[in-house]
Symmetry: C2
Subunit: 348 residues, 2 copies
């Protein structure tokens, strides 16, 4: 409670006086200038230490016009997916002497715009965007206004060298293919919002795989949803209510699969004996569920590291030859099996 108001107000000036040098010299040792004599450097250093000097971040940033911060836009601060992303990015940026300022977009345009504007107002040196709602044009505009942008999990042609992405079509294809290879022929899918590129692409992959197996496409086995748990539940209910036959469901992401699993179980449908399911992302939850969820792993840590490097390169205006496309990996666990022969797949 007895808090003194002496917020460490020792400035470069005091250090200079105490060390018997000019402020410029102190500034030099602060910035590791090679020109300063070892002797004076030592004098200054010890002066700083004994005074408990701490450089003023704002002054430095103002003078250098650099915040030493990278902004990260995520959908949400919680959750394993973005948690891992934040974790990996912070880890990497810390080693680069940068702070990772994260702001969440909550999946709405309004909020994303606000988050981005806020980071801009805090003058981050660059931004890493995991954006659902911002338009390509807006992102390009931000980039062209002086704050370089790295785009995560999305491909924008005009910013092709600043996008880190994976092949969603392939993801959809491989997932469906895995089901097909396991002998499934009636495969339903719950997609994300189809106006979003990633959701649509995975759906495209799904259709393509069916085509390759000469399996007719049945619109009744497709439900468009929200990428969220609740959405997964509702979509699954809808699927069950059609009375259609299916032995597998491909979910556009894990979260929806988790919701779906709950509904299936509630309806007395055994997973995977009656219905196999498959998700996307590989959130941590997957391995705690019973059955463990077979899914496709997004290499978030790798993406974060690439993003950090790329961002720094953009800030320092050096060109890079980093590989921007990352590879996905199918993780086989327990939720997919060969279909059993039963007359009734789902009771309804």
């Amino acid at each position: 409670m007895l808090r003194m108001n002496n917020k460490n107000n020792i400035t470069i000036k005091e250090v200079a006086e105490s060390a018997g040098v000019s402020r410029a010299t102190v500034s030099r040792v602060l910035n590791d200038s090679p020109v300063v004599t070892p002797d004076t450097r030592a004098r200054v250093q010890s002066a700083m230490d004994s005074l408990g000097y701490r450089p003023n971040y704002f002054s430095q940033a103002l003078a250098k016009n650099r915040s030493q911060s990278i902004g990260l836009l995520v959908r949400s601060l919680g959750g394993h997916y973005f948690g891992k992303l934040m974790y990996s990015l912070e880890e990497k940026l810390t080693t680069l002497g940068q702070y990772c300022m994260v702001s969440s977009g909550h999946g709405t345009y309004e909020s994303e715009r606000k988050a981005v504007d806020f980071m801009l107002s805090r003058r981050v040196d660059a931004m890493i965007l995991y954006s659902d709602c911002l338009s390509d044009e807006e992102i390009i505009e931000i980039n062209n206004s002086g704050t370089p942008v790295v785009v995560l999990s999305r491909y924008i042609e005009q910013l092709k060298d600043q996008c880190i992405y994976f092949d969603d079509v392939k993801a959809g294809y491989d997932s469906t293919r895995h089901l097909l290879d396991n002998g499934h022929r009636n495969i339903a899918t719950v997609t994300g919002p189809l106006h979003k590129q990633d959701a649509e692409d995975r759906f495209l992959g799904y259709k393509k795989a069916l085509e390759d197996f000469d399996i007719g496409f049945d619109q009744d086995l497709v439900v468009e949803s929200s990428f969220q748990l609740e959405g997964g539940k509702e979509a699954t209910k809808q699927l069950l209510s059609t009375g259609k036959n299916f032995s597998a469901i491909y979910y556009g992401n894990d979260e929806m699969a988790v919701g779906g699993l709950e509904v299936l179980r509630g309806a007395g449908v055994r997973v995977p004996e009656d219905v196999s399911i498959l998700g996307f992302e590989d959130i941590q939850l997957c391995v705690y569920l019973k059955p463990n969820l077979t899914t496709i792993r997004v290499p978030l840590a790798e993406m974060a590291h690439i993003a950090a490097d790329l961002a720094m390169n953009l800030v320092n205006n050096v060109s890079s030859d980093i590989a921007l496309e990352v590879q996905l990996q199918l993780i086989e666990r327990e939720s997919v099996t060969r279909p059993c022969n039963k007359p009734e797949q789902n009771k309804n």
Copy 2:
């Protein structure tokens, strides 16, 4: 790629000239000073708009000596527990016009110290600490050096008005009591590191409840662990290997309970039929596990909101009469049931 280097460099000076007023006046409208005439205010405003003016954060912070940021120290950026804390805090602070700068301590002293120092160097206006490793003295020292501190989930006598906490003894007591009330008599416990106050307190509550039921305390039924999943696994294995009889395990937190559940299941012990288990925290995972985990809920959102208000009060040097102790709540789910009568609780 064609990024111009015109990082919005419109300053207050330009706005002033464009509006035909002095910089001081622009600054006044910027800060909602009541003295400025509606007419000139409008002129300035439109000048700002048409020029796309954006105040320079560093200059403002430097001049005002305020960062408009609150630092938050958490154990980790991922996970549901801290995710929720971050989410709630950010939500609240945003409405207060503050940024929530979060930094993670990774549960090690070294790292916590570094995180705190970093936030200090970024000159946060206050800090909210969820610290495992910093000593009371260090925290007090930080507070007394000019950056007010709010302490989460920990009680420090000298900072009693700045700690937000709950009653860990009661938590341990209520949990054990719940088991007792369900008819359990042989109750094991897996504690966190007992040198940590919260772990010890919950353990104390456990012992107290046993006493109240005149049940002898058996040291073999107590295993000290790490608060982490792996620790929960090992501790549970150890418990099983004693060959002792027990029909319930009280885990010091959910994470250890999750690990324990896995081990129990692996050992052929049915939960809750053979062994009831009970955790602490109410992480999101609880409801996805089979069986759902009975636990004690920590009101993180509430704590975050209180912390934010308290922090702002400290910054503005106004005293507050906020209630600092929050109440815990037992959430009954599926992992606790009355013990069945069987000769053998655990095979071994």
